[in-house]
């Protein structure tokens, strides 16, 4: 097949509105010159007509809507649709409650407030004694600092 014929068939696949004026002119001129592509164009138009003439205009039976509704009811599709929304709502409410609780718990003051006459606990006393018994750290000399 010639390059022009290939190009002709390629452009034929487009809608006329999609083609530029140059492309339309090429289609017209090539069809005038090439008998094979002229036949191709005619075949394509016939093909469209043949397919149009074979269209089935079937709208379905009168009971179609009832049948679909019955199937939906039997398979409980609507119930399932109804269920997931309240379930999601409940899950979100629970999650929100848990998060609020966690926030409240973690925002409690960690260090207790001390009053002047509070006595140290036994554990605190041991720590204080250990601190007082420890030797003071040696003071840094000038040479140590480099």
């Amino acid at each position: 097949m010639r390059r022009d014929c290939e190009w002709f068939r390629h452009l034929s696949a487009f809608d006329q509105q999609e083609l530029s004026r140059q492309e339309l002119t090429f289609l017209r001129n090539h069809a005038a010159d090439c008998e094979e592509c002229r036949r191709y164009s005619t075949d394509m138009r016939l093909l469209a007509d043949v397919l149009q003439s074979a269209v089935i205009e079937h709208e379905g039976s009168q009971s179609f809507v009832d049948e679909v509704e019955e199937e939906v009811v039997q398979s409980r599709v609507l119930d399932k649709l109804n269920v997931w929304r309240p379930a999601l709502l409940a899950a979100l409410t629970t999650a929100a409650a848990v998060l609020t609780m966690l926030h409240v718990l973690t925002s409690q003051p960690v260090t207790p407030t001390l009053k002047p006459d509070d006595q140290p606990t036994a554990e605190a006393k041991v720590r204080i004694d250990l601190f007082e018994e420890a030797e003071p750290a040696p003071a840094l000399e000038e040479s140590d600092r480099g």
């Binding site: 068939r9 390629h10 034929s12 696949a13 487009f14 809608d15 191709y40 075949d43 394509m44 093909l47 469209a48 043949v50 397919l51 149009q52 003439s53 074979a54 269209v55 089935i56 205009e57 079937h58 709208e59 379905g60 039976s61 179609f64 809507v65 049948e67 679909v68 509704e69 199937e71 939906v72 009811v73 398979s75 599709v77 609507l78 119930d79 399932k80 649709l81 109804n82 997931w84 929304r85």
Partner: protein
């Protein structure tokens, strides 16, 4: 002092107040559709019936032309509606229910075509004359049966359902360029097969 703009604003407000909210909504069919989908989600069977009634003709017609069998088309359309309602939670925009259910229906048609191609061809012709002659319809059916599902679907959506390239692309979930090249191939193959089929018919 009131200016012309303010007066205009007042007039707009007066007009808005005089038009009932329901009638503003009813003007937009997509908004109405979204309402029906919402009501269906809430379990309203009347809304479900209305949705089925709105879209059944288009779905059954397309399925009948793709499958070339009106009875099977009804089965597929019914299956498509059921699947759409079952998967309603996947629908992000309630206004897009029409294309959602249509895409499901077309996909089911392609699945059936794939199964059919794997099975031996049915020989018994269906005698339902509509439009063209029975012979033409049978020949079209015979040729369409020989095309791969994707090419057949592209050809039917474009040539029989008269959809634009963009609509075919959206329905099939492929780029417009793919639709164009598939259509080109489908037409070429249909033409070749059609010529063979008509020559065979003439020789009988």
């Amino acid at each position: 002092m009131l200016e012309w703009r303010d007066l205009q604003g007042e007039k707009v407000k007066e007009f808005q107040a005089s038009v009932p909210f329901e009638s503003v909504e009813a003007v937009d069919p997509k908004a109405e559709e979204a309402q029906l989908v919402l009501r269906t989600r809430q379990g309203d069977q009347n809304a479900l019936r209305e949705l089925v009634n709105r879209h059944r003709v288009r779905l059954i017609r397309t399925a009948a032309n793709v499958l070339r069998d009106p009875m099977e088309a009804e089965d597929v359309a019914q299956e498509a509606f059921l699947k759409a309602f079952r998967e309603l939670h996947r629908l992000r925009d309630d206004r897009a229910f029409a294309s959602f259910v249509y895409r499901i229906c077309v996909r089911l048609c392609v699945d059936r075509l794939r199964v059919k191609r794997a099975e031996p061809a049915e020989l018994e012709p269906r005698q339902e004359a509509q439009g063209g002659s029975i012979e033409t319809r049978m020949l079209v059916e015979k040729v369409l049966n020989q095309l791969p599902p994707d090419l057949r679907l592209t050809l039917v959506l474009r040539e029989m359902e008269q959809m634009s390239y963009e609509e075919v692309a959206e329905t099939m979930g492929v780029p417009v360029g793919t639709v164009r090249s598939r259509l080109h191939t489908a037409r070429e193959r249909f033409r070749a097969l059609w010529n063979i089929a008509t020559r065979e018919e003439e020789s009988y």
